[in-house]
Amino acid sequence: MVDSVQAIAKERAAELLEQIGPETAREMLQVMWATRAFEEKAEELYGLGRTHGTMHLSIGQEGSAAGANYALRRGYDYLLNHHRGHGHMMAWGSDVNRTMAEFLGKEGGYCRGRGGSMHIADVERNNLGANGIVAGGIPIAVGVGLSIKLRKTDQVGIVMFGDGAANEGAFHESLNMAAVWDLPVIYYCENNQYAMSMAVERAFTVEHISQRACAYNIPGETVDGNDVLSVYDAVSRAAARARAGHGPTLIEALTYRWRGHSRSDRQLYRTRDEIKEWQEKDPIPRFEARLLEAGFITEEEAKAIRDAGYQRIEEAVAFADNSPDPDVATLMDGIYA
């Protein structure tokens, strides 16, 4: 499926890399490694019985998160995230310590341990939270877009969702409303090929989910979601369009989750060969290779960046370990303002 998408042109890739600059590019690479390390650590902690609930790992999707978030003014624009959202937390620049502490249900977590993996938010930086409901954030993005328009700021809202969400009724209502009012919203679909066990081939008749954009007369684009620059390019253009008052864009990023949907997944619906095939398209080495080729990093630096990403997660776990459990006396805090 990803083969049906044209690769980004060499000249355009070089132009984007120059625009991003070596410093930010290195940071993006490190965020991707940190995301992978976070997910691996999450899995390990789960195995040790350290976590209370389930989790949805984004290993294999790190490039999609880095490319999309770094194309925006993180902390000024708005992010609505989904349930497989640890990578978006980090790529948005939200604090890894507090994200890990939330994952472990601690008072020092972003949501004081009330939200957990599926509801982590960093409201102060306009990160309006992960969402436990498939398509739950999509209608909220309409309100975010309306609010931006009424307040007359040049902000943009991006809502992340998966292929499964595109088959919820809320998707249709929301894209239509955003389109008729030219709202500054980017609908960013991470098509990781499966809604739990439902393969996209069984759930859609269109080849690309982005084709649905034509129903709303807005641009729709499918990109290689495992190529950071392709994603960055598409989201940058959508953001510019939104800021210019020309309305929403639907972007579909083709990617793949290496792990199961959640802990209950026995992966009976796909083959090992398929997983292996996608692992060969691993977004992290691909971005690393680009940076090496551009002379942004040396082989040695590449290794150091990777190590720093993994080291960051060790620090985050230490922070979370030092954070207390919430006090039961505060059980009912925060229900009402």
Binding site: L128, G136, P139, V144, R151, E173, G334, Y336
Partner: protein, 331 residues
């Protein structure tokens, strides 16, 4: 002294909306046919002329989208007032209201606010039959994080609406179609009736009637009739169902020793059960001289036929009869 200024319930709502929009740029209206059409019942008539289509926003028929729009706008600094054309249609908004709007603040550790009002007309009596006559307030009463408001008269309609707009929580604001044309004293200035402030609408000594929405008016009529027979009913109107201010209800029952609860929604799983349980669990229990009684909509959909519809929900004569029996010791 000049006559007190009178407005209809609908005019009171419209005046509240207008004044909020005049004084606060964060307030805007969004809903189906609320612009030039003026809303299905006319509440927003004329507001688009004053504020334009940017702040009186007509939407496609998209109730989940409307609920999402008010939620997202509220989370990002606005104070939207949405309209669901008939309360029945809010069934199409439930995910956004119940799983998003009501919960984000709590889920995010108390770090988001969702200050919106979602207005909707409920209730029967217009021949609109089963899909346009629902009283679903208790669906929302069961959702912590939401507030549920049901004004029973013109004065409260404006004051509760303004209080709801300036409350920092998502408020489900349930109007009643039959009340839109009822008149009452409504001051011109902006005023708020505090949320969660139960009101004793009529004082009495023999029996407490707790009623909501249009049933408050019917209970007051019943009380006037029974006063002629020497039975003095105290009518108590919660006004806000969630969070409920139950102290005045408990105090009233301690005074009268008898409790009748009247609402239009179906009885089973209805708000009356909550009132009964709170009174039974309170120190008012020792003061009860008779079983707690409920008079509610029958456990059935609203029928079309005028006579059948009439007999589906409590009417004044039903309240008179039930209150009389309770007051006279029939139970």
């Amino acid at each position: 002294m000049p006559e007190p200024r009178e407005l209809t319930y609908m005019e009171a709502l419209r005046e509240g909306l207008r004044q909020a929009m005049e004084t606060d740029e964060r307030v805007f209206l969004i809903g189906e046919d609320i612009g030039v059409y003026g809303g299905a019942f006319g509440v927003s008539a004329g507001l688009i002329d004053q504020f334009g289509g940017e702040r009186v926003i007509d939407t496609p028929i998209s109730e989940a989208g409307i609920a999402g729009a008010v939620t997202g706008a509220a989370m990002t600094g606005m104070r939207p007032v949405g309209e669901i054309q008939f309360m029945d249609f809010v069934t199409l908004s439930m995910e956004q209201l119940v799983l998003q709007a009501a919960k984000v603040r709590f889920m995010f550790g108390g770090k988001a606010t969702v200050p919106f009002v979602l207005r909707m007309p409920g209730g029967s009596g217009t021949g609109a039959a089963a899909q346009h006559s629902e009283s679903l307030e208790n669906w929302f009463v069961h959702v912590p994080g939401l507030k549920v408001v049901m004004p029973s008269n013109a004065y409260d309609a404006k004051g509760l609406l303004l209080a709801s707009i300036y409350d920092d929580n998502p408020v489900i604001f349930i109007e009643h179609k039959l009340l839109y044309k009822t008149k009452g004293h409504v001051p011109e200035e902006m005023y708020q009736v505090p949320l969660s402030s139960t009101n004793v609408a009529r004082e009495g000594t023999d029996l407490t009637v707790v009623a909501t929405s249009v049933m408050v008016q019917r209970a007051l009529e019943a009380a006037a009739q029974l006063a002629g027979e020497g039975i003095e009913i105290e009518v108590v109107d919660p006004r806000t169902l969630l969070p409920l201010d139950d102290a005045p209800i408990i105090e009233s029952v301690k005074k009268t020793g008898k409790l009748l609860i009247v609402h239009e929604a179906v009885g089973t799983g209805g708000f009356g059960g909550e009132i009964a349980a709170r009174v039974a669990a309170s120190d008012a229990f020792d003061y009860l001289d008779a079983p707690i009684r409920r008079l509610t909509g029958k456990d059935m959909p609203i029928p079309y036929n005028r006579m059948l519809e009439y007999h589906t929900v409590p009417q004044v004569e039903n309240i008179v009869e039930e209150a009389r029996k309770l007051a006279q010791g029939a139970y």
